[in-house]
Amino acid sequence: MTASVDRLSRLLNLVPYLLGRPGIRLSDAAADLAVSERQLRDDLELLWVCGLPGYGPGDLIDMSFDGDTVTITYDAGIDRPLRLTQDEALALIVALRLLAETPALPNRGSVERALAKIESAAGDAADTAGRVAVRLPANTDRLGRVQEAVRRGRALRITYYTAGRDETTDRVVDPMRVLFAAGRAYLEAWCRRVEAVRLFRLDRIDAASELDEPASPPPQAQPTRLPDGIFQPTPELPLVTLLVGRDARWITEYYPCENVVEEPDGRWRVSLRASDLTWARRLVLGLGPGVEAVAPGQLRDAIGADARAALAAYR
């Protein structure tokens, strides 16, 4: 929807919104509407000159200002919001379905009741959302236990498998939240071992036990922002360059890449940040002949040495 249509929609819904909240503070209304207070004042000024044919004092939308509050005193007949559009119904209904599908959700009943009411209010506009099906990963005991620890605000001792280093470690964490991203469940927690916020994949938590002490993430423990997915490469991570054959091109969909260039021979030259080179070594070895490591040199050397050491066992 274009910005102009956005404004018209906001104006038409603003009158019933204010009608139901006499004496609302402009700052509260602006926050609810996700606009600046200045924009809101501008919207109100515009509405003030609109109204019923005749356009005299008794026909125009009227409102009274008292300090920084506003009350609609005449609505000119636009006392109800517009129906939901297809896109609005789609956004709300699919999001509620995703929530309802989330395993171990504490108050699924509220979500399901809200979903039924929104679907019914949307009427025909709900048809589009009817063409969407969602399913999140199946429920697990572990998810329930971790979720319970988050809810009760308890610290957890976990046995965690780190695929990047292929090792299993025990650590005490202060849980912050459980979230689902890209089809997987994660525990976000302050890890006391590394003294930083970490995202732990639930399917890699091999054991978890609740401790008798409260979770107390320190003030510097901020939730990870997740606009681009779970793995957020940072510039200090080692940059790995690979030549990727046709059959292994899927890795460019799977891992965030810094650069992908097609070579004359049809292979793709791919640069990506590796969590560490041990991980990169296992990735390249496992992808077989379809992928060749180009840089750094020590990665090439390590791969070659690994392969020769492994071959020795078969001779």
């Binding site: 007949g77 109800r80 559009t85 995202l199 997915g229 991980w279 070659g304 066992a313």
Partner: protein, 343 residues
């Protein structure tokens, strides 16, 4: 949109909501401010007609239901009005916990394409009297990302209208144009797919939304086909993208205390003096070999021969591709600090 145009449109909506008679374009021009013109002057009249057409289109885009009809059997020119029941959102009465759920749901799209649709929908609910707490949390939350083609594809599926798009599978060199009768859109394991009948292959297919390049265009009439009955779209995608059945068994020897990933995945692991023996289920010897080779000398395949041969072949090619260098710097440095544990 200019301020005067917005003002004109608000007045037009108020006027058409208030009238019970159908108002002709000429009557609207005489009533609503902003449409004044000299109807006897052909150029002015044409300009008015264009303006009015644009305004009607704008209102329809917004979802304002414009009704057309004639005021009486003697009228030849069509008139317009807005039927209040079709315009207004019906009463929505949400309990506080339900309103909180809606607020959380709307926030799911904050990083995804439907954010503005979610917030304008939320505004309408608020205008209907629902108090949505925008701070509420559930202690558990999905993070949703969705491609821009999501809304156009679901819309086309709802209207049963065929679409065309450019689709690029990673193993293909260039995108290919596909023609599809979409049945629905599915979120499965965090990825979005559209399922439907591929018109060129005359068979059901599913496509990953992340592989669609550019825009989705509708083609042909709406309501052009029937949705197949009794098909479970998620089931379809799951079968298409799911892992194959694991029929074979392989035995591998692991170094003591190494290859933690294989141990977690193994059916069983038994201790021996020269290493632990793990039993693994697999479907394809080559993909199992690729996985095992990643562990280097920590893993030795004992049987069956098809896996053993695949591993040796892979290792030989790898050893040849990365010949020994004179530098002895094959020891990798310790893992650097990193902000996630997800790999």
């Amino acid at each position: 949109m200019s301020r005067s145009r917005t003002e004109r449109l608000v007045n037009l909506v108020i006027c058409l909501l208030a009238t019970r008679r159908f108002l002709t374009a000429a009557q609207i021009a005489q009533t609503v401010p902003g449409y004044e013109h000299n109807a006897a002057e052909p150029r002015e009249h044409e300009a008015f007609q264009r303006k009015f057409e644009r305004d009607k289109a704008e209102l329809r885009e917004l979802g304002v239901p414009l009704e057309t009809g004639t005021a009486s059997v003697f009228d030849t020119e069509p008139g317009y009005r807005i039927a209040r029941p079709a315009y207004a959102l019906p009463d929505v009465i949400l309990e506080p916990d339900e309103a909180a759920a809606v607020g959380i749901a709307a926030r799911l799209w904050q990083h995804a394409g439907l954010a503005s649709a979610a917030s304008s929908g939320l505004l309408k609910l608020r205008a209907a009297g629902v108090d949505v707490d925008s701070q509420a949390t559930l202690g558990i939350e999905p993070v949703v990302t969705v491609e821009p083609t999501f809304a156009p594809l679901t819309g086309a599926a709802a209207d049963r209208q065929a679409v065309t798009f450019e689709y690029r599978a990673p193993e293909a060199d260039a995108p290919t144009r596909r023609r599809l009768q979409p049945w629905g859109v599915v979120c499965w394991r965090g990825r979005w797919y559209v399922v439907g009948k591929d018109l060129d292959r005359d068979a059901p297919r599913c496509f990953r939304l992340s592989r669609i390049v550019g825009e989705v265009r509708r083609t042909g009439p709406a309501a052009a086909y029937q949705l197949p009955e009794g098909i479970d779209l998620i089931d379809y995608v799951a079968r298409w993208s799911g892992p194959p059945e694991h029929r074979g068994h392989a035995r591998v020897r692991l170094r003591h205390g190494r290859a933690a990933g294989i141990r977690r995945w193994a059916e069983r692991v038994t201790a021996h003096h020269d290493g632990d023996v793990a039993v693994l289920r697999y479907s394809d010897p080559d993909s199992l070999a690729g996985y095992l080779v990643g562990y280097g000398a920590d893993v030795v395949v004992l049987d069956p021969p098809e896996v053993c041969d695949a591993v040796v072949a892979l290792l030989e090619r790898t050893a040849a591709r990365y010949p020994e260098t004179t530098s002895a710097a094959t020891d990798l440095p310790a893992a650097p600090a990193w902000s996630g544990e997800s790999r």
